[in-house]
Amino acid sequence: MIFKKGLLIPSFVFWSLLFIALIAMAEEGAPFIGVPVGASPLSLWSTGTHDFYNYISSKYPHTMIVTRLDELEFPKNAKHCLFITISPELPYTAEESALIVERLARCERPALLIADEFNTSNTLLAAIGSSARITGLQLFVNDENLGLPSPFVAATFVLPSGEDLLLILDRASYIEGGAQVIGYVDHAIAIDTLNGNTIPVRKAPVAVYESTGHFKAVIISDGSIFLNQVLRSNLSNIYLKTLAIYIDELCEKSRDCRIVFDSSKYVTVDAENLLQSASSGQHTLAPEDLLLLALLYTIKLIHPSTWFVHVMKVVGDYTLKAFTAPPLSYVSIVITTVLLSNLVLQRVGLRTRDDKMDEVREVEHLVTGDIINAITKGKYRLERKDFISLYEIVDNTLNYALGCSLSDPGVLNILARYIGEEPARRYVRNMTRLYMKATGRSRLPLVISWSRVVKKHIEESEKIFNSIGLTLLGDKGPEYVPTV
């Protein structure tokens, strides 16, 4: 079996498809580099909660994030399910709340962890039958140093073990209702941000626990304790410890607890706009956030929609100049023609010489073909050895026909009867003398041209032969002298 190396996809096809893809991408436009702002579990910014998500998912393997509520699913035989929403920026509608409740209800022991400074989650609380409501009244304390109210309030959290932990909250709200208060601010001022009214409060609930029969819920009126910047600070242990305790409580420490972080209620902002607004001072971003944004923005820069059209325009302008402005245009046309022709000829396939087909060559081999060719073309010379041959032919033939050879003494008389005495004598004498000369037995006579001598004696021999009924020229010659 012979294997041939070849391309699965020809280069031309590959580059063509690539070019088409670039055009399509350029037409499609740059992607929207969406950066989720707010306390989204997807957000790596300082104001995101991705670190909290990572921490929980390391303890509870069945932890996931949903970006759309229709993705919310719990397996039918799940025992523990927990829905977490932290500082949602968009309110839950009644339909959405009902969907969440319906999905959670598939579990045996559903639970919720809601951290919200405003009343965005109240619909959801109502949907699960909780009495707790986040009022939106923000709690402040007087900052003696600044002489101004400060949103950083110290809240006491009562852990299930009975231990108390003090956590600093930022813009926590007053919670009404709820079955059991698990976190409170001792002395604070509740400010209505809508009308600016202030109400001094004592032991203002900032975290409650409620069990509504089927659902359990922990409601905390501040999402800041979940933020990346808090969990990355040097106080992260305390916060994580507290939050982990509540998660454990809600999941009853079951590793099979299905935990879902909701990321559908956050606004996505374009990275480029975010960078611009940060540079103009509208947003404050940490240095690592800036670096991340810059990296994301690079993706937009390398996208074909940013540079492709410009490159094509430049190429097009130069190409047009190359093909329209003489004398460069002539050179360009010639080069392109040659390249295109070469490409086409390669595609056209192998070339072959268009020769005529071979014809039969009739053969005729002659044993003495070289002699025959030489004689018919006139390219022969008669030499000394040819005279010897002639003498022997004549000698044999006369021996057969007359019974005596040229060297016999009686040959003269016999020949004289056919051609006359004088011609016979002359012939025999010449033949004999020349034979002695040709065989090297005599130096005489002098021979200038053996060719002429042989020809002459061939003619004379033919006359002799004719006189005795033989021939050197006919069909039957000396070869017919029998040797049987």
């Binding site: 392109t336 268009d354 044993v367 004689i375």
Partner: protein
Amino acid sequence: MIKATQRVVPVVLLSATLIIVGTVLEPSLLLLGLALFLFVASMKGLTTLEYMAASRIATNWRVKGSVEGEEIIVELDLVNNSWVPIVFAEASFNYSPFLRLVQGSRAALIALPPKGRVIYRAVLRARTGRHLIGPVKFVIRDPFGLYRSPEVVVSHPIILDIRPRTSEVVVRRLFAYTRSTGLTKARDAGLGVEFYDTRDYRPGDEIRWIDWKKLASMNRLVVKEFERETFQTVLFLVDATPYTTQGPYGNTPFEHMARVVASISRYLGKRGDLVGLVVFDHRKVISTGKLYRGSRAFYEVLKTLSMVEYSSEGFTESNRAEMLVKAFGEIIKMLPRERNAVFLFTSSWSEESQLLVKLVKKLSALNSTVYVVVPIITAYEVKELPTWARAVYRVKAYDRLKKDIEFATRLRKLGVKVVSVGPEHIPQAIVAVLETLAH
């Protein structure tokens, strides 16, 4: 499969130029350039279609003539069964290089319409032996010669066996010769052609031999008696290797020997002698298989001689010796126990002549009288020359003549009987030997 020729290059260059100039400068030229390119592509398609149609051409051979010297008329029907016209087909008619084309052409340009038929006719001069006629090959091109197909064999070769011509003149001369010399008369009464005497009728005699004149005149029922012919066994062993198939067209030593063997076989067959033949060429040994009598003998001899194949490729004397050994093996298989005459027709040998002598002696020891017939090569080839050149040829080729004579002489000295005469005298020389052996 279909390849572009050198003519494609300028057309593609022109097309590319028109496309480039059309794209950049003059749009009206772009279409022309594209049209030219498409034209080139379509020619390839056309050539491919025609090539496929050519591959499916149906053929039928018709051959007239089967005897040497005659004209063999060869006709080939070419039928295009497809709907594709074959417009430019270059055809090549191949045949054995040892034959001569007398009429017709070795190459042609053929146009075969769809569902059409063309008859290709050629006339060759027949020559004894087995020859191939064909194959016929086509090469397809488009009308502009831009593309060319590979060769396609349209018709495979056929085999033609040509019988040697017998010379009626030779046969009659043989009968006349033997009658005049009294060689065929056995002087015994029996079955024969010559009237011998009359005798009384015996029951069982054929009515046609009754002498009605004597019955009418003498009232006596007598029948005519004829001379009994003597019968014998004659085997011919013919060398048809390249050493004897070289020479003038139709007059090589082998072809001449084939005519002689055929003529003598006819003569011997009529006489009632048993005849067998073994021929060896460059690659095989062919024989009549057994001895035959009468017209059957003649037929088998002709058939065997017509199966000889010619070759001109490297064939040495040692190859020849190998074939000779095989041929002798065949001869021995056919030998009957009675005395036989074996005639080996071959040309002179140089290195392996000892082997030839050895085989001849072996055959002689098996109750056979063996004669080696050595034709004189120069006697055949001199006829190629005009009269004025023959004397010079005979002088120049005398060494070759001496070689043949010396070979014959050497064989005789080693105790081998040799017939070394000119071609015209061979038949009489052989018959004279036969008749001598018969008595």
